[in-house]
């Protein structure tokens, strides 16, 4: 299947490698696939993924605050 290709149209898509954006078409395809697979509504996705996003920094902060080296640093600063 031959498709018309315009160079500038290509550059918006991309690049989940370093810094750039997901292809809009691919994002729509992945979205359809997830919907078919799990049958969830948008809000269910938002809540489930949102919890995953929030849990990471909470765990990081608790883990660091319980670390003895951070406590020692705070004591030294206070002195």
């Amino acid at each position: 299947m031959r498709l018309p290709t315009k160079i500038p149209d290509d550059s918006v898509s991309v690049q989940m490698h370093h810094t750039e954006s997901v292809d809009p078409t691919l994002a729509a395809w992945i979205n359809d696939l997830l919907k078919d697979l799990l049958g969830w509504g948008p809000w269910t996705f938002v809540v489930v993924l949102g919890i995953a996003i929030v849990v990471i920094p909470i765990w990081l902060i608790i883990s660091a605050m319980r670390h003895p080296d951070l406590g020692e640093e705070a004591e030294n600063d206070a002195d």
Binding site: I7, E20, I30, F45, I53
Partner: protein, 444 residues
């Protein structure tokens, strides 16, 4: 069991003592990459809405993305230099504040021009502050022996950020609006990213009276002097290490690493950009293509951690060459295998090599040239990646337009990867890396 525990890179205890604080720093940088790359990856999700509301074409919005690509490439050495001088903490925190505020402002724009200024300019510039280059500059100060695994965990954060935040923001937009989605993105970065970085991140182990890798402080003047020499050697690097970053360009490894990363840019940007068009041209179904890309990203996150772990036990340049050659095999599979089979082969083979270049390249740069200039040098190597990627996106598109098939472009990619693999193989790591320096050399 005791000998096996030596190979556990995340072991909670170092030498029978507490867990090394450097792993908390790795956690923060992982989350920083997760947030910044994940939200930037999501740009494409908003394109349809902007086209409809502003009455513009994809090509016009592409200009903003292309500006962002170039600005991000230029920003990395500049911000890397600042990280080398002032440390990573201030850069990460400031970058996140600017990006978070800018995401909120994106909700109020109504033209491509404002998108180009805000996303292509401000956000893309400061994204360089939480990039593989600048995070490498932080992590290499904290780790020497476990540099590979530490760097690879941080790199995997970017990959997982795309996997989680792209569907999250897509669904959020479906449930609300694109404006609300950008506001919530900004709030996430400001409320979760900024405090986490400000509270936990430290520029170097020295800031907390610690040593790299959690090494215990030696007792006795001789042992202590040796330890100090090792710490200085870590900053200085191997025999090519210098106070001036420009000196690096007078030696081969800098060029060899840059050539490799240039090819990395060519081959990842071209595939990512042209993946959908190629899949359609091969009559591959949407669901299969989505599955394949998801699997590629999943293997990518696992592959980068595995390669990073291995790189702490083997010479990094062998692994880096292997990664380029494996990716070359994946490119060949796109040419010789029929449509769907080629896609799955590429997802499985290529996925393992997709991001593994990041920790290996940054680790080698720090091993050879030392830690003091790694932000700047890493940024410059990243710049070559961006330039290779930009050129390849154009060339692959032109090739498809003229020839009606991607096969010649894929063959070009495979040839470039073969060359990159061979060039990297010629790096004399044993001669130039601080990892293999003799004790008397390290002490000089």
């Amino acid at each position: 069991m005791a000998s096996l525990s030596k190979f556990n890179p995340f072991s909670r205890r170092v030498d029978g003592e507490k867990r090394f604080y450097g792993w908390n720093v790795v956690g923060v940088m992982f989350f920083g990459m997760f947030l910044v790359l994940g939200t930037r990856n999501s740009f494409g999700v908003f394109v349809d809405n902007w086209e409809r509301e502003w009455g513009v074409s994809t090509g016009e919005i592409s200009v903003a993305a292309a500006i962002g690509w170039i600005i991000n490439g230029f920003s990395q050495p500049i911000l890397g230099k600042i990280v080398d001088r002032y440390g990573g903490k201030v850069m990460v925190v400031v970058s996140m504040i600017v990006m978070g505020v800018s995401y909120i402002l994106l909700a109020f724009i109504d033209s491509v021009l404002m998108l180009a200024v805000l996303f292509g300019g401000v956000i893309s510039f400061f994204a360089g502050g939480v990039s593989p280059g600048t995070s490498g500059a932080v992590i290499t100060r904290w780790f020497q022996r476990k540099r590979g695994i530490a760097m690879s965990v941080v790199a995997a954060g970017g990959s997982l950020g795309g996997l989680v935040l792209v569907p999250f923001l897509t669904q959020l937009m479906l449930a609300t609006s694109w404006q609300t989605t950008w506001i919530i993105s900004g709030i996430i970065v400001l409320v979760l990213g900024v405090p986490t970085s400000a509270l936990i991140l430290r520029n170097s182990p020295d800031d907390m009276g610690l040593l790299p890798d959690g090494e215990k402080r030696a007792t006795g003047s001789r042992a202590s002097a040796e330890q100090q020499n090792r710490a200085q050697a870590l900053m200085r690097g191997g025999p090519l290490g210098s106070d001036s970053w420009t000196e690096a360009f007078k030696s081969w490894p800098m060029w060899q690493l840059s050539i490799g990363y240039f090819v990395c840019g060519i081959t990842t940007a071209s595939i990512s950009t042209h993946f959908v068009r190629w899949a359609i041209s091969e009559d591959i179904s949407q669901a299969n293509a989505a599955w394949a890309f998801g699997i590629l990203m999943g293997i990518n996150a696992g592959g980068v951690v595995l390669i990073g772990l291995m790189s702490d036990y083997f010479q990094r340049h062998y692994l880096l060459a292997l990664v380029y050659l494996i990716r070359g095999v994946a490119f060949v599979s796109l040419i010789v295998l029929p449509g769907a089979m080629a896609m799955w082969a590429f997802a499985l083979i290529g996925g393992a090599s997709w991001l593994a270049t990041v920790p290996l390249t940054t680790g080698l740069t720090a091993d050879v040239y030392g830690v003091r200039n790694v932000g700047m040098l890493g940024g410059l190597i990243n710049f070559s990646h961006q330039m290779g990627g930009g050129a390849a996106v154009l060339l692959f598109g032109l090739s498809f337009d003229r020839l009606g098939t991607y096969d010649p472009a894929f063959a070009f990619g495979a040839a470039c990867l073969l060359i990159a693999g061979l060039v990297i193989l010629t790096i004399k790591e044993r001669k130039y890396s601080i990892r293999y320096a003799q004790p008397q050399q390290a002490a000089v």
